[in-house]
Symmetry: D3
Subunit: 339 residues, 6 copies
């Protein structure tokens, strides 16, 4: 049996945020968080009980150690973390200040020239490709730099060849590449993808899709041997209150799965809630026989809950997610607190 | 004249909570609060200007001292705090993490084997029973352990005999006992109770009452020589927003008292808001000639305000509560800030 | 060309506030902020790119230095800060605890006998009056003490004579003077005022104006050679949620300017949001050829944003304010975060 | 029997200090402490187990309440706290930044015009004078303002007449009065004093005494009916390391008491350590039959320990002080930790 | 090859400490640390690069999860953590306040009735005993409760039988058992022990040994088949400054190893420094062919460094420890900072 | 008259440090400080009362704004700050963890590719060169990158030509360049230098000087038209306790100036204490007629005090430095606190 249920590849970042409601320009201290789209996904799946690992490159210094220690505390394996011993070694970082209406969120990226730009496929052992049931990566890794892109594309091919499911989240970031660049690159890998995460907006703006959301989702599976397409649907009522739901399409049964969205989510920290969706959804699939209904329930719940958690990483175990799902599906009033 | 207007009997607890929005599992520091259902009640009444005291047993160590110091700072008398010098002496504790929708609150109790389990009626002087106009205890004290239960029941009898009003709040906690256990035990003491706090839900589920709320409230006074019954009515719109009101029934005049509930309370910390209701209500009665209208106004206002206060204990003096009551009763717009 | 676009005269205060949601009476630490109505205005204008300075008197001690350092960090000139070397030298202070419904905000002023009460016009050089395009002061300075009042009235006259625009914000504070005192004093200076800030309530209650808001605004310009009158319109839905808009009247064109108010502002700290309005409005006028439409847009946006910023001082640069204005004027949905 | 063992009269102050090692001029938050020479003394005696109270006047606002709550938490009675309801009501404050060699400590006083300046002997009930075994006041109260001085001198006389021991600590502060003023004033009250605290330096510089310390101490008892004179001996090796000892002279037995000083005290916060000496010394006398040896041991130990406690107030109970005394007197090595 | 280099068995505790220099009785917040004698040892060895795991029982709640997450972050395996699902489940805790001369440290234990008292050997798989090269336990585990003692003794036998080295640290705690109890119990297991940690004081007071330290160390190996005996030598100059060294005796070569002690250690947190010694010493042995000189160097350095680290757990990687050892052994001045 | 007394050129950095005693690898929050060798110098001189400015390039984002705001708060002019609008714009950063014996300090630099690498002399106006009496730069700016080096060397020439004094601090950093590189580069600029800071170690190891310190200092003035050479002498007794003194050599009078060093400095944060020396020394020269004795006194005192200040920047005004100098020169005991 494979050692891991899920391996992911991606950059690990240090986030520095002012304390509650403070502004970056006036801060004299910052809370630090460790995150990264693919680490967030692996962490969410691990917290729910599956075995996961992160493939990445960290600087061989105390900040790299800080990141590794956080990875371990999430029960994500560090077997495939490699170390950058160059003089230029650095962990990518970003400063993040959350929004309060009508003030907008502020992100100051400082992730250029980081250690991930020195990653190479040669640093990873051949038996890694047989060690997992599923491999997940997002468009951010493709967009970061040529080295990460080359490594990611080659890994997708090798994991696919070794029999793993390939999961891919477009996760489009305009500050990293253009829509056209994203489209050209991603179309290279779609032939290998089994599980595809793409929001409706991205499908239209980046992949130039038209028609209804259903048409669009179905079209991806028509063009590529994709098994499952998932599209999240977030409504931002205010920076502090969102709604969240999603649609999952299963090609083999030509079925769309959806449920009532989570309304009036009290948003504490929205960063990573999209990744939490991927994590919950992949958990649902991998902990069952690819049950899209379970995937939908876990994806939506994990994302909704993540919005209430400070930092990039989720922190919900199986018990908590099942409790929230049960509440979400309950008819009638729900007691607020059991004691 | 009696030295105290109110004495209460109950466990004093240490609450440990993560800082704002953080989670227990990730915390590296905890805010500590001192609380306990009956201490909360005594504190609320004391802040409003009456003389109160708490009867309890504390461990003879620095944590017990921390608790006593907090008791004193609330102007609650420590005359009847006794000390546990055994090796097992400990202050009951609980960890509490507040909810953010759709995430639920989390309570981890660590109150077993605490010093209150070594309390005995023999530790308290006989003249204590004549020192107060009113004695209050809640169902939590009955449910905690046989020692506390025995002590509470005996004290109810002795205080009653000495001429004090007996106030009792059911405060049902499913994690401490079953509904059937609660019913059996509480029915033993109802013959001694003058002021009875019981929510509609508890009346139905625990005491197996049926009919309208009015029917239920009246029935308690029919079965027992209870003078006043109070039922709180909380609506939880979200963990951060509640409504709160109550109904008070006075047996001798066969009158129900109610007022427009507090709507859109911005909840910061709901713990202790039920106790704050008891405190405000008892203050209303004891500072007047048992005026149920005053009791209603103070009970509702004290509870509504407590929801905005971090920690278990209330912190509102008479001036503040009267100001909020005046605002609540005002017609037309109210200025937000006087300066 | 003048060295400054704006000079203001007013007291600089130290604010001490409990940390997030805590209460003054239980606090063991306080966050300190530097503020003051006129400093807040100068800071807002400076952040947007104009040259400003504050005229004030500070105690010659470490607290005065703390205040000066904050003034400098806002890029407000300290050229006209004078120092109080008396034994009584002190910075006025106030303690502020924000409101949570139904709890009211709490302000404890401790600003009596402060160094501003020893200010004298003789401490400032004659060439100061020719150094600025605009001079702004608020009614608070008039109300504080005879020394500040005398100094302010004389400065208004000298700046006017030297050719500066005179801006005046009534900023009525009942805890400093009565409406009748305010009316009598302010009517002395209105003959010198070009830009006049007065809310509808204050116009009615203090200046005893009647009729529609439009009538009232027009009447000020009829009675005095005032060019522009601005009235803010705040609606307090709850301490945590306000709406904010304003009306500006330009006498020469007999035109009223208004726009859709900012709705559902998530209020973090309302202190200084009125001053932020003055700052944005004066920036709009002074950075253009007295364009009231620009003044309206910047005034409303600056005030709306300030409500989201902890402390008395604004912190928004031109880029941020323009971004919020663009969002406010956008048709259709707006993306929450650019990344 | 008297209700109190000790009553003291003095101003209660709010101290605001930057967090550990920070500087006032750069601080954005301050730790707040409540203190005051005479409150510090009463608190120390109370913690050791005697009954004490503080006579003072507080502003009728939230800062006054904060102070009262701290008084209560120290188990010091607030029976004789009176309230200042004037518009000028304020709690005296000071900012304090501790020293680090070669940097000096920094004190910014902001205690002028405080509520204590409105104290009057008429505010206190006549039976207060019979309620205590001992009354203590320091030279600070005499120096503050004429109102406090008049009140203090009259209280000394009335307490004396009612049979209380009178304790007086010179506590000379050059920033409050001159040596000559102090001498003239204090010589008025020395005829009433039983227990007199005066350092050697103050005796020489203020009272113009000459000769050896023994000569000086004896001379006070020769000139006035003083029973006991105590002189502390602090050596400041560095701001972080002091030595502390004292000499006590008992007139009736013409005996000097001294012991080996506490060496290498790790100083965390020296403020209040002189008051802690008075507290320990008075405890020693009042808990025994005026045993000067016990007074010496407790005075020295309480002061030595106070240097390790943040804030103005001591925090040591009887157990802790006895433990430190036992260690101090132990021959041979002492185990660091019992566990 | 074995999966682990070291397994340890012991209770995991939550430590709650006031912030820097504060006192427990006045604290409103506590820093939390996870620790425990045997976890500390496993963590130290793991940080240096070997594979370790902890055998323990945790409560199945958020506090248990918090502990597990910390265990994982130290790279200590949680494969043998079992969960307590009983109603009584709790993590043992203690409150710790550090000393400042002449004030003593304060420890308030609250570890009774914890989940470790429900541990049973039946909860662990048989193949665990073959999975490690070394098993370490301390006297604390023996002293805690009969369940832990029985489990520990049986595990010692099974690990020994499976071929593991047995390491035992007496770690005598008078608050857990008497010297006589300790002696009787430990003598049962000494026949199985290979590596024995015992301080000179404990050897004399508990095991009633006499003669020189060398005699004592040798005598243990004479009576039992112990290979290596280690005795630490700490000198407490003040709570903030210690010296630390040790002696190691190897039976087979009849050799004593020692080196110049670490002088003038700036102690930040002494808790766990003895465990850090065991960790460094075991690392030295297990990473070499049982080289006592390496064990001595690593044991002393790890302990010396641990004193400078807040919390129970060490935090030094191989690079740091080697750097400190190199400095310790350097002749002549050492540069303070490389940059 | 020149507008500035001192202009400096250098990189502005963000420092991120764990809170008191914590370690980088375990931190979840960091204190942020702004610093940089030349900014530190300019700040020190500005605090003492002269006019200074910093020449640098900052990223056009919120972190750049944070840095500018700090520059302004130090009263250092931002007239010559230019902005980097490239996509790569970033503020150099470093993580710093202070030492506790025997643990070493830890510095993790993350300053590569920062905005200073895009600085060009063409960005600065020609009249800048005539605006100052003195220009200071350190070897760090030369070592950072070719762009900064080119800019610095050209500025030295232009400022020299415009008549400014040139001040240069070698400030050798082995992590930026080798000794040979430093020597070759610096020898190019020494012909322009008037005031030269070089420690004895650097003179020997980098410039390969031999003989006594006096010989070495004199030799620099023999080879180059240097007027003044200053060498600091720090002794590190432990990370928490240093001694500090210096020698200044004036070529024209062939005189060496020295004084008794500051002993037993309680070191809180040594970063920037060398720069504080330069600042104090330059203040001494520029505020007098190049009086080396004044320079010596201020240089030593400023550096000694800086060691007690958290952060990179000094915070001492003239009053404080003069007070410390007076204490340093005092005969006999010095009172610890004036109050």
């Amino acid at each position: 049996m494979e050692k891991f249920d899920l391996l992911t590849l991606g950059e690990v970042l240090l986030r520095l945020s002012p304390k509650e409601n403070k502004r970056i320009v006036r801060s004299t201290e910052f809370e630090s968080h460790v995150g990264g789209a693919e680490l967030n996904v692996a962490s969410g799946v691990s917290l729910l009980g599956l075995h996961t690992g992160i493939i990445s490159k960290l600087p061989a210094n105390a900040i790299g150690e800080l990141a590794r220690s956080k990875v371990r505390s999430m029960n994500v394996s560090d077997d495939y973390l490699v170390w950058d011993h160059t003089e230029d070694a650095r962990l990518g970082a970003y400063f993040y200040e959350s929004a309060t209406f009508p003030r907008k969120p502020q992100v100051v990226y400082d992730r250029k020239h980081s250690s991930i730009t020195r990653i190479s496929i040669d640093e990873f052992p051949e038996d890694m490709y047989k060690s997992t049931r599923c491999f997940h990566v997002s468009g951010i890794t493709l967009a970061l730099c040529p080295e990460a892109r080359t490594c990611a594309i080659e890994m997708i091919k090798r994991f696919k060849e070794a029999g793993a499911l390939i999961s891919f989240d477009v996760n489009f970031r305009l500050n990293l590449w253009t829509g056209a660049e994203a489209k050209a690159c991603i179309e290279q890998i779609l032939p290998y993808v089994d599980i595809f995460f793409c929001s409706e907006d991205t499908a239209r703006l980046t992949f130039l899709k038209e028609g209804s959301l259903e048409d669009i989702m179905r079209s991806f599976t028509a063009e590529y041997p994709i098994q499952i397409v998932a599209s999240t649907q977030r409504v931002v009522h205010s920076p502090k209150q969102h709604s969240f739901g999603s649609v999952i399409y299963e090609a083999k049964s030509d079925t769309f799965y959806t449920e009532q969205p989570y309304e009036k989510i009290d948003v504490v920290d929205r960063i990573g809630s999209g990744d939490a969706y991927c994590g919950g959804m992949l958990y649902g699939l991998l902990s069952s026989d690819m049950d899209c209904r379970k995937a939908l329930a876990f994806g939506n719940a994990c994302s909704a809950i993540k919005n209430t958690i400070p930092g990039d990483l989720p922190s919900s175990d199986l018990h908590e997610v099942e409790y929230v799902i049960a509440d979400h599906n309950a008819k009638g009033p729900v007691s607020e607190m059991n004691r």
